[in-house]
Symmetry: C2
Subunit: 696 residues, 2 copies
Amino acid sequence: MENIINNYLPFVTLVGSVIALIFALFTAKKIMKYSEGNEKMQKISASIRKGANAYLKRQYSIVSVFFAFMFVVLCVMAACGLLTWFVPFAFVTGGFFSGLSGFVGMKIATLSNSRTANACISSLNKGLRVAFSAGSVMGFTVVGLGLLDISVWFILLKFVFKLPVDEITSAMLTFGMGASSMALFARVGGGIFTKAADVGADLVGKVEAGIPEDDPRNPAVIADNVGDNVGDVAGMGADLYESYVGSVISASALGVTAFGEMKAMALPMVMAALGIIASIIGSFLVRTSEKASQKQLLKALSRGTNTSAIIIAVLALPLTYYILGTVRYYFAILAGLVAGVLIGKATEYFTSDTYRPTKKLSDTSKTGAATIIIGGISLGMLSTVVPIIIVGACILIAFFVSGGTVSNPDHGLYGIALAAVGMLSTLGITLATDAYGPVADNAGGIAEMSGLDPEVRERTDALDSLGNTTAATGKGFAIGSAALTALALVASYINKVNTVSGGSADKSFDIMNPIVLVGLFIGACLPFIFAALTMDSVGKAAQSVVIEVRRQFKEIVGLMDGKAEPDYASCVDLCTRSSLKEMILPTIVAIVTPIAVGLLLGYKGVVGLLAGATASGFLMAIFMSNSGGAWDNAKKYIESGVHGGKGSDAHKAAVVGDTVGDPFKDTSGPSINILIKLLSMVSIVFAALVYNFHLL
Amino acid sequence: MENIINNYLPFVTLVGSVIALIFALFTAKKIMKYSEGNEKMQKISASIRKGANAYLKRQYSIVSVFFAFMFVVLCVMAACGLLTWFVPFAFVTGGFFSGLSGFVGMKIATLSNSRTANACISSLNKGLRVAFSAGSVMGFTVVGLGLLDISVWFILLKFVFKLPVDEITSAMLTFGMGASSMALFARVGGGIFTKAADVGADLVGKVEAGIPEDDPRNPAVIADNVGDNVGDVAGMGADLYESYVGSVISASALGVTAFGEMKAMALPMVMAALGIIASIIGSFLVRTSEKASQKQLLKALSRGTNTSAIIIAVLALPLTYYILGTVRYYFAILAGLVAGVLIGKATEYFTSDTYRPTKKLSDTSKTGAATIIIGGISLGMLSTVVPIIIVGACILIAFFVSGGTVSNPDHGLYGIALAAVGMLSTLGITLATDAYGPVADNAGGIAEMSGLDPEVRERTDALDSLGNTTAATGKGFAIGSAALTALALVASYINKVNTVSGGSADKSFDIMNPIVLVGLFIGACLPFIFAALTMDSVGKAAQSVVIEVRRQFKEIVGLMDGKAEPDYASCVDLCTRSSLKEMILPTIVAIVTPIAVGLLLGYKGVVGLLAGATASGFLMAIFMSNSGGAWDNAKKYIESGVHGGKGSDAHKAAVVGDTVGDPFKDTSGPSINILIKLLSMVSIVFAALVYNFHLL
């Protein structure tokens, strides 16, 4: 019995991953049976697909240079005895699978956009089915590939190389660094692309030329739709792959430290597999009658996610008992699951126009752009208070129910990591409800550009706005799990330092030790720098788009009368070039800073840095996401007819707010989630270097 | 010899404070000899004075209710043995002197505004002399009253009550809480007033009605000028009183812990007295020829501040050696002094339109309000990196040169506190160069409203813009010293807990202890909440002003033709009421949170909270101040004729940026400086309560 748990239970993970991938494949085949619609729709969809493919191809070729460079660096470090030889390979695999998750998601999304638009001609429900299926392919590909990566490496290390259990987790942590690096490139690059195109298209098209959104006369309109795919889909795919894998392996690693046995490693892996089954069951429940209202659709989606969560909440109890022989850790998992739901609800409260904060924000548009900006920033900052209390409570509960004490925190830290796994266990379905939004958005663009009946556009808009609500829940999970996983990784880093030092490292990190404190200050500063750099990049890229769009409006004769076609490709190309150029600096800052601080201040400074970055990063991510979300919805609320509706001065002010919010919520905010984990991952990989060579 | 140092050296402080107060009185008398100008100018100045007096009177009456309540609470705690009986009285004195500093500064500023305007009729140099003298009165009153408070309490406790040295510093720390509470009320209330009036006047007057700034037809124009006095003068006075006193007493307290002797307490006090002499010498050098250019004026001001700094840098060496018998602490003082200057330079670089960042920011105005907002936020966030490195280096240098070690940090922490004292030692003159700005601003308003020659307005504008540059330096000192003092206060808090526990408290605050960590998260969140609340307050108050100004424009017949006078008093009254109402919640949050967290998580949670709040507060204060400063100067840069100048679309976008920046730089940003210290002060006062009664 013990033997089964210790040795063979992780095979369950492999089975789970294969089920997820088969389910994704099966769903993808189902989507392909739908019609792509008329010729015009097919043509537009093909242009978007072409642009997105071209972007990803160039992104991957740039990123592969980085990976090749890092591979060499890691090999040199391995040759010097600072790493094991598994690390360079694990690093590359993590990056590869993370990129692959994004690629598959993007591929299916670009194949589903016109199909969704076409299905919306029949009914809202049919549109939902196609779009949600596309989201499901993405969701299950992410979790499937994540678990595949984890289980194959596990089997290799355990049964082929026959490593002891602590070296297994140690090697596996390093493919987290590959996944995180890839995710950051994808999120930042895609985020800059999508927002540069969006802002550029809006500023000249909507504000200056006065043509509607997604108007085919706008030269940046295809770039805008490509952006949805490379940013909101491919970027999100890579991002959540990283979150998922990160939470599972950090929990596994801490479990091994706490128990010294395989079984503690098995729990998070089997939990993840169980989550896949729960997600599949949940996703079968997402269906509704042909004539469903929007409210009924939302109910259908919620039924899916809620059922999955309940299944996990129920089954995790016997599972935990079976594997660990005690139920106490179950409450850590449950705390994580509940915290994720609550943060999602808080996000929804602060950003949805059905609640007071966003309604109040829309009021401030009556006195102009300045007051809605002040109002939105204030709303976002204030909205940090609820999630911080929820996460704080979750940390304390997870730590203490798992038997953590100040002098012996290992079990408690394992509990915190399990909370993150609990939060992300239903990722398959929560990601599906999140990822279908951009597909619906694209479908709306195609409906508009191909001149379909306005009713179709209304339906895609309904799907899109539904997606905003479910995305809020998704964001809650992403941000909450990022904070918990980051903390688990800090604990893993400390364990790593301990191993590297042969157990002689001093493991106290007193906050009043000036080295720790200065590390904390620098760490807290990193999300600010990172947000500044990414926003600046969006600004620069957007300005180049603005200039190009203005040029086309001026130079292409007959464009505004619909007699000539704009040069869509040049805008796509411009966005591609500028976003790829701009994604490099922020990512390098994220990778170099923890190494530099480590070489200067030593590993205690690094722990300070990681804690500071986690605290301030969590706050900044929530602030920026929620400000952006609220501005977006305040604008939509006004467009629904409040305060004078579209075209009123209030609406113009709200558009300024929304434009400011774009890079907040879709570039800087989500990237910070990755940043705080990547910092820890990098620190873990370079732990031996920092421990052996540092100044102070 | 030892005996002299131990017992009588602090009397030097009393002498220093009396010299400062006499100098202030003497300078005030000199100002009063200048003419107030013609009848119209006198009348306007009188209205401003009346409004400012009325505001302060009501502010103090509200604040006194709070002080009375807290006095009772502290008396009850003293009766329960949780405090000594000195605390309630020390608390009230701190508040009283802090308020008095603001009051005197405001009084002299409102007496100098028309005199400055009138002096500007003759020459720029004469205008500078009057305005700078007004600033000097404020600067020397703040330092004089600060040292008076410190030395009188010291003499009382030492020679009348004959307390042992550690109980003296412990009691003195608590009048810091009084000073900080008062400062927060003054900064927040005044900050809301000034920005509500400013934003309200600009939005309706400049943007909607299209009349120039300070136009007498604008009903909010007097309120705007009153705001400069109650916010930028009275608020700043109370704020810097608190910084100054806080740094000296926290250094004294840590010195006593480190050395166990009076001499370590004497050093910061005598340093402060020395700084007064250095500042007086420096201020005599602020004079220039009658026909000086603006550049020469700036040189004259810099000559004054630089000379004072050099005098301190030179004399602190023998002084430190004389008092402590070693020079090592001198380098901590020097590190603080240099760090203050460098942060000021960094602030100037990021916010002055003579450097690239602000010039680049003004470029973003060409693509509209959204891009200049994104650009300004990004600039402010990025600008945090340099100060954080400077303060980090200063902390490490001050700690290690003073002989601090991880296992015995007391001397190192004393070094950090001395660095703050070094930074603030020349406050007399740096505050003078900072506080003269609002006087010049008011003078400009009076020149405009009383229809003086445009040349006069140009001169007051030159003075005002000069003030912006010197204010940047002042801000560097204020923010840098706030971070260092806050850290010193955290150390004092830990010492206090140690005393309260009878030496049995565990003094390790490991960052991975979940209690410390959750405290850190909550602490890091506080500046976000605080900024949100204060910005929201400005927004609400400004909206009420907007409505009132619009009402007057509509209802008062002949107002726009200059045939009827607006009802200035109603706007002043409205700002007074709304700002006083709005200042209460943020202040209560600041006071209640550390107590609540302490009762819940215990003193370890409080230490985490204080560290988190210091790190994120430092970042937020710099971010908000610099974003605001850069927007302001980008607008002025465009007004100087770039990108189409006044009235262009770029200018309109820049006005939106400036309006957003107003609460950033003048309400939320500077209040956070006070917040981070007040949190520690409150924690110190309630240490015994928290130690004896807490949940976890």
